[in-house]
Symmetry: C2
Subunit: 214 residues, 2 copies
């Protein structure tokens, strides 16, 4: 056991960013400025946690000089911490969009339900990723990947909506929805990427990135 | 000197992705399907290079057990290789958009010049990042960061254009331009992130992410 503290650090980060995406979604759909601000300012904690984790990893590499699997775990953790930091940024972007459009709603009513589903799914996928880090359960990791297919589907479904002749919310809102859709989809990709790293550590097989959407 | 081969690997990756963003921009602006396809298929080389570099880093950590600065260089290299891999994905996304809209042009004529400037600047910033990796020149790294301000400016300038009442290219094109603008801006952020890591290794001071645009 090279690094329970690193694993704990990753799980803490996953909880922070999972909470952030949930709160950001609420801020976006409710046009809640105060909640948006709280998500934006809380992202500094995620960045701190990432730096802290990197420092701990470096300390472990220097002092314990792990080899074989233990070494791979530390290197994989560094990679996962980058995914988590980036996920935090994406949650912050959602909150920034809510703030930018306040007191207006950035998301029109007829897309409310789809964006809510994307936001909830993003939060759930990150919770699954945290669980996979803890349990190292390969089946749960594969399940996460399947659940991400729904995110890709939701993301794809946004575009015909925006490009429908009956779209009446203008270009600004179409641009907002395009960006927010991409933020959720990328957030989910990071959760998938974390799960794949865990699978790789357990099985030695790295699934390709082919199914991660552009 | 712990890792000339790692540094070479990073520079090779930077060259690959710099070339990819340049070619993707040409494919996008010329609606050149063949060129777009070549960028898309070439991204596998970037992914291979990243895995190869990670394997080399792990081998160095296991065999040489570097400490202090040497250890930080290896860890920073891992982080930079992730930035480069992601930059390659972004170049691929630009090419995929060109392919998606072929034989039409994804970018309308009146935005051609701005997108060309973003594409050229992205390629230049990555070339600067490669140079910074080689020279470890802190001034050049700071210059790169300043040059990235122009990318942020170009990116910001896109939105008023899309939202102008005189915009006559429809929502689909607005969505395309929104995404492509974001791809370039993120690509540039990765170049900045690489330069910052080098500065950190040289000076021990990590500049904040505050000026990296959401």
């Amino acid at each position: 056991m090279v690094s329970p503290s690193i694993s704990d650090g990753l799980v803490d980060m996953a909880r922070l960013v999972g909470s952030a995406i949930g709160r950001a979604t609420t801020a976006l759909l409710d046009a809640d400025l105060q909640l948006a601000e709280s998500v934006i300012s809380a992202d500094a904690r995620v960045d701190d946690a990432q730096r802290d984790l990197e420092d701990r990893a470096i300390a472990i590499l220097a002092r314990q000089q792990p080899v074989a699997t233990d070494l791979r775990v530390v290197v994989a953790s560094l990679r996962m911490s980058v995914d988590l930091e980036r996920s935090g940024d994406l949650a912050e972007h959602v909150a920034r969009l809510a703030r930018l459009r306040f007191p207006k709603f950035a998301v029109p009513g007829d897309l409310h339900r789809k964006i809510l589903e994307m936001g909830q799914l993003a939060q759930r996928l990150m919770a699954q990723a945290a669980e996979v880090i803890i349990t190292k359960d390969v089946d749960a990791a594969l399940q996460l990947e399947q659940d991400d297919d729904r995110m890709d589907e939701l993301h794809r479904m946004l575009f015909p909506h925006l490009m429908d002749d009956r779209w009446k919310h203008g270009v600004e809102t179409a641009v907002d929805v395009t960006l927010v859709g991409r933020y959720y989809e990328r957030f989910a990709d990071h959760a998938v990427s974390i799960a794949r790293r865990v699978v790789y550590l357990v099985t030695g097989e790295l699934t390709t990135d082919a199914s991660i959407t552009p």
